[in-house]
């Protein structure tokens, strides 16, 4: 009888250990999958030199690095599609990738709040670069609620992202003088693409009638977009998805939409739609129909390998979605 | 005519320790029977395993010739006072009414009739004026009488009582023993775990001497002897020859 009980306990213990083991293996597997922005060309014995290993936080940065570095860099982004950078906390696997990198690029301006400490510590041992550092502080937007903090979503003003590309170029040349020419050439061509994109967006948004030019989203990620391209921007949540919204925020937004007869709102890929859904349902109850114009990319890009998985593709997709929805 | 209780080969273990070994006995009807033994002898365990409250390794229990589970309505139980948290939000009448839950079955709420029976039982223990008293305000003796009234409400033929005389005042003790004698007069059988050797001869017709196994069982005069007591208490006892 007693032996039986001991055996039961053993089985229970093994079951739990097994469960943890399975979960641990799954975690390992996922960590090994290549993430967005990886542009390495595989084993190239003809390379006279190993490519620069670069790790970035968000995918938008990784994409720029990949475009400027091309075959001379191997770049990986820690935060994949749909990942919220405000919340993100680095895992052991992430830290390994950061430590192994020759250069680490991050956004800065407190976007990657959960990784502050790690990045600071690493900065003492290896190059850790905030790509936004050369953007003139005077043109940065402030957080409406917390006047000490900057709005970190600078990638939505393509002009700022050009400055970022220049910063990245500078860094790459500093660490790899040999390929400086290649980097400069790549950067020049990429930056001219970005400049063209910037003009394109201005035109596109201008085609939306002024009364309909409202971009309503789940959180205040599009401040720079609104400022650069002349469209009014309203978010349910503040700059940081980590701060909670309350009932008043939901009713305020709902009433604002009803008053201004706005009938289109947008979801975001990295933010849960619950808040926006509550606003829509509330408005519907009061007789005002609101449609979802589409899902935009805000803090992360699209799936790896797709057009939206690149910076330019992502921005374009957003603009097309916004214009299509608001032009009606 | 079946005996109220027949136990065969009852063995109980607790955390790899055997606390009751092959207990076998039978008791006659209409008697007051004391279960006597030292601390840790398994007296409470005996009652609890008979009633199915504690699991047993082996053994068969027959109540009036049938397995225990079929005869619950014939059984009344008074547990130890410490087994319950007396701060529980309920009053005296409510606790006594719980004795009727077995007869009510599932889901039915106790109504006027059950409360009346409960009140009668309270009268029998002299506590009818306490019916709406919060149980945390009761003294030890009063608590014991409430438990007793609850068992009476079960309207049983065979009663099991676990140390009903422990820590009660003299008046309560008198009330309890007179109640037990009254039950005996009605032809009922009462099995009592008892700790006070001084009152055994006065209270009980039969006794069971227990120390992890049955030492002896039978009429008090025959069994309550120095020899058997020494055997039960293993020499830890000083017996003074008086009567």
């Amino acid at each position: 009888m007693n032996l039986f009980k001991t055996r039961k306990k053993m089985y229970l213990g093994f079951l739990l250990l097994g469960l943890i083991g399975i979960v641990g293996c799954a975690a390992n597997d996922i960590n090994d999958r290549p993430l967005a922005g990886d542009r390495s060309d595989g084993a190239d014995e003809t390379d006279s030199q190993d490519p620069l290993m670069i790790t970035t936080t968000i995918g938008m940065i990784a994409d720029v690095v990949a475009n400027i570095g091309q075959e001379h860099v191997e770049v990986e982004a820690l935060m994949g599609p749909g990942v919220d950078p405000h919340y993100y906390i680095a895992t052991q696997g992430d830290i390994r990738k950061l430590e192994e990198a020759d250069i680490v690029f991050y956004n800065g301006l407190y976007l990657e709040e959960g990784m502050e400490d790690i990045l600071e510590q690493l900065g003492e041992q290896q190059p850790v670069i905030a790509v936004t550092q050369h953007i003139d502080k005077n043109v940065l937007l402030m957080d409406e609620e917390d006047l000490d903090e900057f709005d970190p979503h600078v990638w939505f003003n393509v002009k700022h992202w050009i400055t970022v590309a220049e910063t990245i170029l500078e860094s790459l040349i500093e660490h790899d003088e040999i390929n400086a020419d290649a980097y400069s050439a790549n950067a020049e061509s990429y930056i001219s693409e970005l400049a063209a994109l910037h003009e394109e967006i201005i035109e596109q948004i201008a085609s939306i009638p002024r009364e309909q030019r409202f971009l309503v989203t789940a959180h205040d990620a599009f401040g720079y977009f609104g400022e650069a391209y002349d469209i009014e921007v309203i978010g349910l949540q503040g700059l940081n998805t980590a701060s909670e919204y309350g009932a008043k925020d939901v009713t305020d937004l709902r009433d604002f939409l009803i008053e201004n007869e706005i009938s289109t709102v947008f979801l975001e890929s990295s933010v849960p739609p619950r808040g926006i859904e509550a606003v829509i349902e509330g408005a519907r109850s009061l007789g005002h129909e609101i449609e979802i114009g589409g899902e935009l990319f805000s803090d992360a890009m699209g799936e790896v390998g797709t057009e939206e998985g690149t910076y330019i593709g992502m921005i374009r997709y957003n603009v097309e979605t916004i214009v299509a929805a608001l032009q009606q | 005519m079946k005996n109220p209780l027949k136990v065969k080969n009852l063995s109980v273990a607790y955390e790899k320790q055997e606390v009751l070994k092959n207990v076998t006995f039978e008791i006659p009807e209409g008697k007051l029977i004391g279960i006597i033994g030292p601390n840790g002898a398994g007296k409470s365990t005996l009652i609890k395993s008979i009633l199915g409250i504690v699991p047993s390794l082996t053994g068969e229990v027959e109540i009036y010739g049938k397995p225990y589970k079929e005869q619950r309505k014939l059984i009344g139980y008074v547990p130890q006072r410490e087994s319950v948290d007396w701060d529980f939000p309920t009053d005296v009448l409510d606790v006594v009414t719980m004795g009727r839950y077995g007869h009510l079955g599932w889901f039915k709420f106790p109504r006027h009739q059950e409360k009346k029976i409960a009140l009668d039982c309270l009268k029998q223990v002299g506590m009818e004026n306490f019916s709406d008293r919060q149980i945390s305000q009761l003294s030890g003796g009063q608590q014991q009488r409430v438990f007793l009234a609850r068992a009476l409400a079960q309207d049983a033929q065979l009663y099991f009582m676990d140390e009903p005389f422990a820590g009660v005042d003299a008046m309560t003790e008198k009330t309890i023993i007179s109640l037990l004698k009254h039950l005996k007069d009605q032809g009922k059988t009462v099995l009592v775990v008892h700790h006070d050797l001084n009152t055994v001869k006065e209270y009980f017709d039969w006794i069971i001497l227990l120390n992890e196994e049955i030492i002896m069982i039978g009429e008090t005069e025959k069994v309550f002897t120095k020899e058997y007591l020494q055997k039960t208490y293993g020499g830890k006892l000083m017996v003074f020859d008086s009567n």
């Binding site: 009980k5 306990k9 469960l19 943890i20 979960v23 975690a27 996922i30 999958r33 967005a36 994949g80 599609p81 749909g82 990942v83 919340y87 895992t91 696997g93 609620e145 503040g238 998805t241 701060s243 909670e244 919204y245 309350g246 009932a247 008043k248 925020d249 939901v250 009713t251 709902r254 890929s269 990295s270 849960p272 619950r274 808040g275 859904e277 509550a278 349902e281 109850s285 992360a300 799936e303 790896v304 | 409250i53 619950r72 139980y77 547990p79 087994s83 319950v84 529980f88 939000p89 309920t90 009053d91 409510d94 606790v95 719980m98 839950y101 009510l104 889901f107 709420f109 106790p110 919060q134």
Partner: protein
């Protein structure tokens, strides 16, 4: 202000949802508290996390219903484990609760990390379960909560005397022939249900407060179980309603913590002002007794002196 709550659709949903959630917690919380299983609610809440993560991994969607089923499954599993381990080993319930809670919660966090790293979009928001989010309640959520609350109330009413018996004297219950283990599991199941719906509003971390506080507060006002249940339910409802009212008028104030703070205020109020059991009443009656004694003593002293 109150009319605004009823007329405004979003506020009305949050109000009704929070009230029914408070009501359910209040009722089943009484039984949890009386059985000294208050921390069980906490263990249950923490053990919903792996279920939520697994449900998301299997269904790939964030639909509330699926996640709730997942939460229900793992928390029920946790309660089975807790019962089993407590019964079969030497571990007391508090140690068992701690162990099971930690294991399940860690597995849950691990799974969340895996999801976070995967390339499936739309996954953040699962960790809202940690802190709750009542601000975005919609009509269908309210329906779910109301339905579950009704089932809980009906069950507790139906099994009232059985639950009372089980909580007060489980040995006697067993002797009477009631299936104690099954009833025990039923109460645990109801606790799990109340916790799982409560989590959406106040989150994993705070739900235990909403489970216990109204029950403890209610105990100060009555010595009868059925009245305690009613008062606890009312306290729960008041906490839900008032929490909603306050947070609806202030920007960026989440409802969950406010609801719990109201419940705590009700508790402090009960602790101080309840007749018979409240501290103030006790202090006053002690003073009265002292005065009586002092008067008597004065009398005695005077007599002594005269002699």
């Amino acid at each position: 202000m109150w009319s605004q709550l009823i007329l405004d659709p979003n506020l009305r949903w949050i109000l009704i949802g929070s009230m029914f959630l408070g009501l359910s917690s209040g009722i089943i919380g009484c039984f949890a508290y009386l059985r000294k299983q208050s921390l069980l609610g906490d263990a249950v809440a923490h053990s919903t996390l792996p279920g939520v993560a697994l449900a998301f991994m299997f269904t790939g969607s964030r639909a509330i219903f699926g996640l709730l089923i997942g939460a229900l499954c793992t928390s029920l599993l946790a309660t089975f484990l807790i019962s089993y381990i407590t019964r079969q080993t030497r571990l007391k319930q508090d140690a068992t609760l701690g162990v099971v809670l930690s294991i399940f919660f860690s597995i849950g966090m691990l799974l969340l990390t895996i999801i976070q790293q995967s390339s499936v979009g739309n996954q953040s928001g699962l960790d809202r379960f940690l802190f709750g989010q009542s601000a975005s309640m919609i009509h269908s959520d309210v329906n779910t909560i109301m339905m579950i609350s009704f089932i809980l109330i009906i069950t507790c009413t139906l099994f009232f005397k059985e639950f009372k018996l089980l909580c007060f004297d489980p040995e006697f219950a067993k002797e009477l022939g009631f299936p104690v283990v099954l009833l025990d599991q039923l109460i645990m199941f109801l606790i799990v249900v109340a916790v799982v719906i409560g989590i959406q509003i106040v989150g994993v971390v705070l739900i235990v407060a909403l489970l216990i506080t109204p029950a403890v507060a209610a105990r100060y006002w009555t010595d009868k179980l059925h009245i305690m249940l009613v008062i606890s339910a009312i306290f729960g409802m008041i906490s839900g309603a008032t929490g909603t009212l306050i947070s609806s008028n202030i920007s960026n104030l989440p409802t969950g913590p406010v609801v719990v703070l109201i419940a705590v205020c009700l508790f402090v109020f009960s602790l101080l002002f309840a007749p018979k059991q409240g501290l103030i009443f006790k202090a006053l009656s002690r003073r009265k007794v002292k005065e009586k004694n002092n008067n008597g003593l004065d009398h005695v002293a005077r007599v002594e002196v005269k002699r």
